[in-house]
């Protein structure tokens, strides 16, 4: 009746030593990004191709979003692919290359030094991504089951490599014209490979597994997830073809509509998981993670406006609004929520895994719930104020919004430190 087949037995989870450095680097990147945003609120009045805007965008995309996702995915890969992480060495190398490459790249952009600093940073980031990609592919190959989540993570890591490799070409294109056109002409392709191919695919792939798991929900629908997977990839390929063939602007609505449909399916998936949950109480971390799904409507509205006003002067402001809603809205909200769902598990395993029948605290007791609520309040207020500042071009709103976002980053870092430095209590 109860069988101990070849796939049973306890699978070792990824060591905390592999994962924690990514979380710590990401937390520091977030606080630096918010500080830079506060110091440079005037960039909102400039074109988006501006040194400080590029620096903040890349620090948010790579230092904050990508680093924490890389860390979390090393931890969650066994859960997603139902196998084990292939190489700790590749994971460590991935961290070392990224942790040295990202500061160089961001400094290069900030100072607009398009020479050695920027180029070395870009090369190191590519080395990091190659290590990660090889590790993901090797882990999936060795896994006995290949579920839809594994395809999401494999495709996302391939798109990440495409993004950073294209980014590398753009960096070298600043000093030697390797590409037919100026680097600025390719920015939207580079950005969307990263935003849609990497962030969106990975967050949906991981979220569709974790959201039902943390809600203890009975809901699962791999068929819908396959549809979402196909729609997003087709939309992204379609966008790249349209962009590189200089197609008529309004045609950009077609990949946009495909992504919109995919997101509607994902939102419905999350809603069904929520409705069919076994545990009625939903904690604050899950609430902010679910809110991030709803927050996707903001960048979508901005993007719709960008396409509509593509030839108008207001286009640049809308692009900034779009980028802001993605990095400081959707990505930040989901990371804030998921950090305090995943990090306590990692630290708990480190501190308590060898203890037997002691009065061990629950993982949620490793961080402060009150600090989380304060952080969420600062974050949501700051996000809305800064958003209003962009729309109204009002410096007071921009400064106060950025100050609140920085305050939320400080509280976030304090809470992360409280979790990471947790000592055993018995």
């Amino acid at each position: 009746m109860f069988t101990n087949d070849s796939s049973s037995g306890l699978q070792q989870t990824t060591s905390y030593k592999v994962v924690l450095p990514f979380y710590i680097f990401a937390a520091l990147s977030f606080i630096i990004s918010c500080t830079l945003l506060l110091l440079n609120t005037d960039i909102i009045h400039q074109h988006y191709f501006h040194p400080q805007t590029l620096a903040i965008t890349h620090l948010m995309a790579l230092g904050w979003g990508t680093m924490i996702i890389l860390g979390a995915s090393h931890q969650l890969l066994p859960v997603l692919i139902e196998g084990k992480l292939d190489s700790y060495l590749l994971a460590l190398l991935s961290f070392v290359f990224a942790a040295t490459g990202i500061p160089l790249l961001v400094t290069g952009f900030y100072l607009f030094n398009t020479g050695l600093i920027l180029q070395t940073g870009a090369v190191l980031i590519n080395a990091s991504v190659i290590c990660y990609f090889l590790n993901v592919i090797a882990s999936i190959s060795e896994s006995k089951k290949h579920n839809v989540h594994a395809f999401f993570i494999a495709a996302a890591s391939l798109w990440l490599f495409a993004t950073t490799f294209f980014g590398l070409l753009l960096v070298f294109n600043f000093s030697r014209s390797w590409l037919p056109e100026n680097s600025i002409e390719y920015l939207s392709v580079h950005a969307h490979m990263g935003l849609v191919g990497w962030f969106l695919l990975l967050i949906i792939g991981v979220g569709s597994r974790l959201i039902p798991m943390f809600l203890i929900s009975k809901y699962s629908n791999p068929k819908i997830l396959w549809w979402i997977f196909a729609l997003i990839n087709i939309a992204l390929f379609g966008f790249i073809i349209l962009k590189t063939s200089n197609a008529f602007e309004k045609l950009y609505y077609s990949p946009f509509l495909l992504v919109l449909f995919a997101l509607a399916l994902f939102a419905n998936y999350c809603y069904r998981a929520y409705k069919e949950r076994i545990r009625k109480h939903v904690d604050e971390q899950m609430k902010i993670s679910l809110l991030s799904v709803a927050m996707l409507i903001l960048p979508l509205l901005s993007l719709m406006a960008v396409i509509y006003f593509i030839r108008e002067n207001s286009g640049s402001k809308l692009v900034l609004l779009y980028g802001y809603c993605i990095f400081f809205g959707w990505i930040t909200a989901i990371i804030m929520g998921m950090t305090f769902k995943t990090l306590p598990f990692i630290v708990w395993t480190k501190v308590y895994h060898s203890r037997v029948l002691g009065k061990t605290p629950a993982p949620k007791e490793l961080f402060s719930e009150n600090l989380f609520k304060i952080m969420a309040l600062f974050y949501l207020t700051g996000f809305i104020l800064f958003l209003a500042g962009i729309l109204l071009l009002n410096d007071l709103l921009l400064k106060s919004g950025a100050a609140l976002l920085l305050a939320s980053a400080i509280v976030y870092v304090i809470n992360v430190a409280k979790t990471v430095f947790h000592q055993a209590k018995v």
Binding site: D5, M213, I346, L357
Partner: protein, 107 residues
């Protein structure tokens, strides 16, 4: 889901202790959560085998939960050697939560 056993009396004694072993994330004990499938006692060899599962095979707390189960049963039967048979077939599903466990999760 009822826990199967070849000795109901001994099984009740083992379960009494296991009601104090919790899944740290869910906050529910392993018995009401439906993780314990079977407890077999061999009075001749003084061996106990606890057949159990986890909510997921890749549960980061799996090692800790199984160690706690082993320790709890060992504490109740000091002369016995306790081993854990961790199985994932049948896999755990929310339907295995007891009515008492469901009541706790409804709060």
């Amino acid at each position: 889901m009822a826990v199967l056993s070849n000795n109901d009396l001994f099984c009740s004694a083992a379960l009494a202790g296991l009601y104090d072993v919790f899944d740290p994330e869910i906050g529910l004990n392993v018995v009401d959560l439906g993780l314990i499938y079977r407890i077999d006692f061999n009075e001749e060899t003084k061996k106990i085998i606890v057949t159990m599962t986890l909510t997921t095979q890749f549960c980061p707390m799996g090692e800790s939960i199984t160690a706690d189960v082993q320790q709890s049963v060992s504490d109740a039967f000091k002369d016995y050697q306790v081993s854990i048979d961790l199985v994932f077939n049948p896999a755990w599903s929310p339907e295995q939560i007891s009515p008492e466990g469901q009541e706790f999760l409804d709060r």
